[in-house]
């Protein structure tokens, strides 16, 4: 438990240290938004769409669709979105295996590095 805590503290510390370093290098307008780069922020980003999704599903009950598709139910668009997205992402791996070749495959060199 303590170990975990110290690990978290360490992570936090390194985040802070990194941010301090970045603050010097970063664009002045970007300074207030450096927290976006924190790991915790990125990890917890998931809650933003989750909350949004829940709200819109609820609102979907308030505003029923005027034109219904045969497959429509109350959260159908959410399901479509989630499934379609996941399908695309999961298809990436096999597709990559199937289609990816070395960058110099056509013998024209890799463009722009």
């Amino acid at each position: 438990m303590a170990k975990q805590k110290s690990k978290m503290a360490k992570a936090k510390l390194s985040d802070e240290a990194r941010e301090a370093k970045e603050r010097v290098e970063a664009h002045p307008m970007a300074v207030p938004f450096l927290w976006l780069g924190r790991k915790s922020v990125q990890d917890n980003f998931i809650f933003l769409p989750l909350i949004g999704l829940i709200i819109t599903i609820v609102l979907g009950l308030v505003f029923p669709p005027e034109h219904e598709a045969p497959w429509d139910f109350f959260a159908s668009w959410a399901v479509i979105g989630f499934c379609a997205y996941s399908a695309v992402v999961f298809s990436a791996e096999p597709l990559f295996k199937l289609l990816a070749r070395d960058e110099n495959y056509y013998g024209e060199g890799s463009d722009n590095g």
């Binding site: 949004g52 819109t56 034109h67 959260a75 990436a92």
Partner: protein, 583 residues
């Protein structure tokens, strides 16, 4: 004089300016021309086009009349958006000092504008080819790898032009010499040829590879310019000639879906955007296929929106490339620290293409999807519902590649450690303007109404209904959730450098291989043949030489005696002819 200007296709201003630019050594003048010409052209369109269709500038070439100016509600939309894109591109390329890019860009824009405003197929062909030829210069400015891509690009576009011409000639001849460019339809003579020609330029499935091949290899500004015109010109031609052609619905639906899969595995972000471009074109082609006034409005509106937000995305990637030297997702990341403005603009572009409410695609793409929905409701046909499903799937797919992948891997994700400068001011201005437009076109209080007022048909459509907003957001949030979720569980694939095969493999590898193989075979064969053939050729040549050379039989200074005999022989021959003729 002013009267004359009213009969001049506004595209010619671009071409004149382009030729001028080719000769002008002064950079600042060229740049101002690049920005001011579109403004002036747009002003002229405004002057020429009242409310009625305008047809003028008829030039007679031999028996054929070329209508060089025809503005109606359909072409007007394209004309304005091309001018707008011209201005944005002009500002965006302000920092660049390259005479070739400037002049060819202007000529290219001019060709596109002319192509949109001409009234007959032959003129269309001329500008179709001019656009191809002038734009290949932009590809070639991209550096080393671009040369071969440019050649392929040119070959494909010239092929497209040839098909168009062939179809046009067949069509015109069967119409009794009437080449007017109106609704053609797939069943008209030559209609299929022209459809394929436009299909090539539009990136129909299997004909699309030139987009992903050439655009990412063009120069930074080149890509931005290219993205706006060629495919949109082809869309205009489709909208004009093939509105309501059923097969376009399915082609379009297919076009929206397949690029999604390529985009997800592609590493080069400009290539990702090219696939995304293809995918957006799919929506519009589908809309043209549906062909109802609402769908056509959706197409026209989405063209406007697409030129702006796709331009914006390409611009932001261009800015990144300018500063970091690469557009590969695997090499980038965390750039929001260095390029905050670009990040914001890119996010606005991504939001627009993903059709977030209050951003432009929301008010345009939804018209197409609604039209698909209505037609499916009317027909109750399974295939129409499938089309709708494909479109919805593709909408989620858009969210994946353009809405999330492009901005995420560039500006967030794992910090690549690159610390670079913010984009130059002119790029920021161009991107800023484009972002404002993205917002303006979807602005619920006056913005989208303005956009709709430009559209070719008078159809009432309200994008901001409660259910529409809610369900669109549902879709998008679900997609984002899926992204975050997959990322979290580590299922989201890492970006890897690779060359992704597409249909162009058939000609870049298979075709080339066949050619190589055949030439190899030919070499072997010719070793055997050569001895025989060489002897034959040599023999013939020598025989010719013996006959015709100065020392040869034909050329020896003929002795007068022989010449006299020849003359007598000639007399005999003549008399025989006369005898035959007289009797």
């Amino acid at each position: 004089m002013a009267d004359l200007l009213l009969h001049l296709n506004p595209g010619f201003y671009f071409i004149f300016a382009g030729i001028l630019c080719a000769l002008l050594p002064v950079n600042i003048v060229r740049k101002s021309l690049l920005v001011l010409t579109p403004v002036f052209a747009a002003f002229m369109i405004f002057q020429i086009y009242g409310a009625q269709e305008v047809i003028s500038g008829v030039i007679s070439v031999g028996p054929q009349e070329l209508i060089t100016l025809r503005i109606d509600r359909l072409s007007m939309v394209w004309g304005y958006i091309f001018c707008l894109a011209g201005v944005l591109n002009g500002i965006y390329g302000f920092h660049e000092r390259c005479r070739i890019t400037d002049s060819s860009a202007l000529i290219y824009m001019g060709a596109a504008v002319c192509g949109v405003f001409v009234g007959d197929l032959l003129s269309l062909f001329i500008f179709w080819e001019l656009a191809a030829i002038s734009s290949v210069m932009l590809v070639w400015m991209g550096g080393e790898g671009a040369y071969k891509a440019g050649i392929r690009y040119l070959a494909i576009h010239v092929l497209s032009g040839v098909l168009l011409l062939a179809g046009a000639v067949i069509y015109g001849q069967s119409n009794g010499g009437d080449y007017t460019f109106g609704n053609i339809g797939i069943d008209a003579p030559g209609g299929k040829l022209m459809l394929i020609a436009m299909g090539i330029k539009c990136g129909f499935p299997l004909l699309h590879n030139w987009i992903q091949d050439a655009y990412p290899k063009a120069s930074i500004t080149g890509t931005v310019i290219l993205s706006a015109f060629t495919t949109k010109l082809a869309l205009y031609a489709l909208a004009r000639g093939y509105a309501g052609t059923d097969i376009l619905i399915y082609i379009g639906a297919l076009m929206t879906v397949f690029p999604v899969f390529f985009a997800v595995i592609e590493n080069d972000l400009r290539r990702v955007l090219s696939y995304s471009l293809n995918n957006q074109l799919g929506f519009m082609v589908c809309g043209i296929g549906i062909g109802t006034p609402l769908a056509m409005n959706g197409v026209a509106g989405h063209v406007v929106a697409d030129v702006v937000f796709k331009g914006l995305l390409f611009m932001s990637m261009g800015a990144v490339m300018l500063r970091t030297g690469t557009a590969k997702a695997s090499e980038l990341g965390g750039l929001f620290r260095s390029m905050p403005y670009t990040t914001v603009f890119c996010l606005i572009g991504a939001g627009s293409i993903a059709a977030f409410p209050l951003l432009s695609a929301f008010v345009t793409k939804s018209m197409i999807i609604s039209a698909a929905l209505y037609s499916a409701e009317n027909s109750h046909a399974i295939k129409d519902w499938i089309v709708l499903a494909m479109l919805l799937f593709a909408s989620a797919g858009v969210m994946e590649h353009s809405g999330i992948k492009v901005p995420y891997f560039t500006f967030f994700a794992h910090d690549s450690g690159r610390r670079v400068e913010e984009a130059p001011w002119n790029m920021l201005v161009a991107m800023g303007l484009a972002s404002l437009l993205c917002i303006f076109f979807a602005f619920p209080w006056g913005g989208y109404q303005f956009l709709y007022s430009l559209l070719p048909y008078d159809v009432k459509y309200h994008p901001y209904t409660g259910d529409h907003v809610v369900f669109q957001l549902q879709l998008l949030f679900a997609a984002m959730l899926a992204f975050a979720f997959l990322k979290r569980i580590g299922a989201y694939p890492h970006e890897r450098r690779a060359e992704i095969l597409d249909f162009d493999w058939t000609y870049r590898k298979l075709g080339l291989g066949i050619v190589h193989w055949m030439s190899e075979m030919w070499t072997r064969l010719s070793v055997n043949i050569s001895r025989v053939s060489m002897r034959l050729i040599k023999g013939t040549g020598q025989k010719f030489y013996h006959i015709f050379s100065p020392a040869g039989t034909m050329s020896q200074s003929t002795p007068s005696g022989f010449a006299a005999v020849l003359t007598a022989g000639m007399l005999v021959v003549t008399l025989i002819f006369i005898y035959i003729g007289a009797s």
